[in-house]
Amino acid sequence: MRIARRQFLGHLLAAALAVALAWELSAQTPLSPYQHKALYLFNFAKYTEWPKDAFAGDDAPFVLGILGKDPFGKDLEVIKGKTVRGRKLEVKYFSTLEEVSGCQLLFIALSETNNLAQILKALENTSVLTIAEADGFLQASGMINLVTEKKTAGTQSVAFEVNLAAAQKANLKLDAQLLKLARNVLRT
């Protein structure tokens, strides 16, 4: 009796899943590189633990800041309306370093590459996960750098490297699974 019921539930679940998947597949088109990167940003947030004092309060949203010339545009919509650790995801755009405040994750656009050292210096002693896509970002003590890899079939894929020491200094706990996926992890 129990087995029969379980099987029935299993079938029901399978059916529900099939419908959900069909719906999802129909809605899916291949992701653009920046949609890919936007999803990565969201996933980084998912596998990182912030200290409690990084947020204004229990109901405060999770703020993703973008500093410099925004490369995402509409591509950021793939992560619109998502929640991170029970907090609503909010996006703030900053054009200069002075404006940066109240964000947990900061994406530093290519336009700011020349100011990296200055930006990272200013963010020292804050629990902000810094992400960029610039060579030498980790060496400048940035935390996560996105790298575009060319795959054999001419397709591109996004990989990332992590400066774990910098993240630890900022009191951020990066999940071991995240580190495992990184192409390169700086530990000192």
């Binding site: 399978a14 899943l17 998947l21 899916q28 998912k46 596998y47 991170v84 029970g86 699974q177 495992k180």
Partner: protein
């Protein structure tokens, strides 16, 4: 039945005891074996479920970041379990990572299998891979385990049960050989006395009364 009726009381007693005992024990053995088969299967399912869930959790980030190479490495860790013949992960409903890599595509379901398990020639089990935070399903992990080990274990169990059954019957025979005298002895003695009376026509012979049961009442 005639043959049985012609047996001596002593033999009848032993036969009845052995038969009762044997049938009881055999039923018990069968029940135990069915129970063992169910338990072994249940254990296999719960062990595999655990393995699938742990592996699924370890692949969650790989699924999120769409890095099948990393997931394959995690799946390969399952290779140390002799029972597992195939493992796969489905992402967005499609086969996404598999181990061993040498498996042909037809050896695995092409589309994401429904959550649950089924016994075919092997045990096949599918579990959801959940997002670590929202607990929404992001993929499906599929395991196939060979039942050889389970069958070997069952065969061993049957062997032990049969041996125990034989041993128990042998002991029962020894015990019944002694205990049946309680009933058969007074009857045999009475029968002896009756034979003496009829052979020697000596009506003075008296049977020895051994107890106050129904046989004793005859004396």
């Amino acid at each position: 039945m005639n043959l049985f009726q012609n047996l001596s009381i002593k033999r009848k007693m032993t036969a009845i005891t052995m038969l009762t005992c044997g049938v009881g024990l055999a039923l018990l053995c069968v029940a135990l074996m069915v129970l063992a088969a169910i338990t072994f299967r249940g254990n296999l399912v719960s062990e595999l479920t655990m393995l699938a869930d742990v592996t699924g959790r370890n692949c969650a980030a790989a699924v999120d970041f769409n890095q099948p190479d990393d997931a394959v490495k995690t799946l390969a860790n399952l290779g140390s379990d002799q029972r597992l013949v195939a493992a796969a992960i489905y992402r967005e409903g499609k086969l996404w990572a598999q181990f061993p890599g040498s498996l042909t595509a037809s050896a695995l379901p092409a589309e994401s299998p429904g959550i649950g398990h089924r016994y075919d020639r092997a045990l096949e089990l599918a579990r959801p891979i959940l997002d670590p935070l929202s607990h929404k399903q992001t993929g499906t992990i599929f395991l196939r385990a060979s039942l050889d080990q389970l069958h070997t274990k069952l065969r061993q169990f049957v062997g032990i049960a049969v041996m125990l059954l034989l041993l128990a019957v042998a002991v029962a025979w020894l015990v019944s050989a002694r205990l049946q005298r309680v009933i058969s002895e007074p009857v045999l003695k009475l029968a002896d006395t009756a034979r003496v009376v009829s052979e020697k026509k000596d009506y003075g012979v008296r049977a020895q009364k051994l107890g106050n049961d129904e046989v004793g009442a005859l004396i």
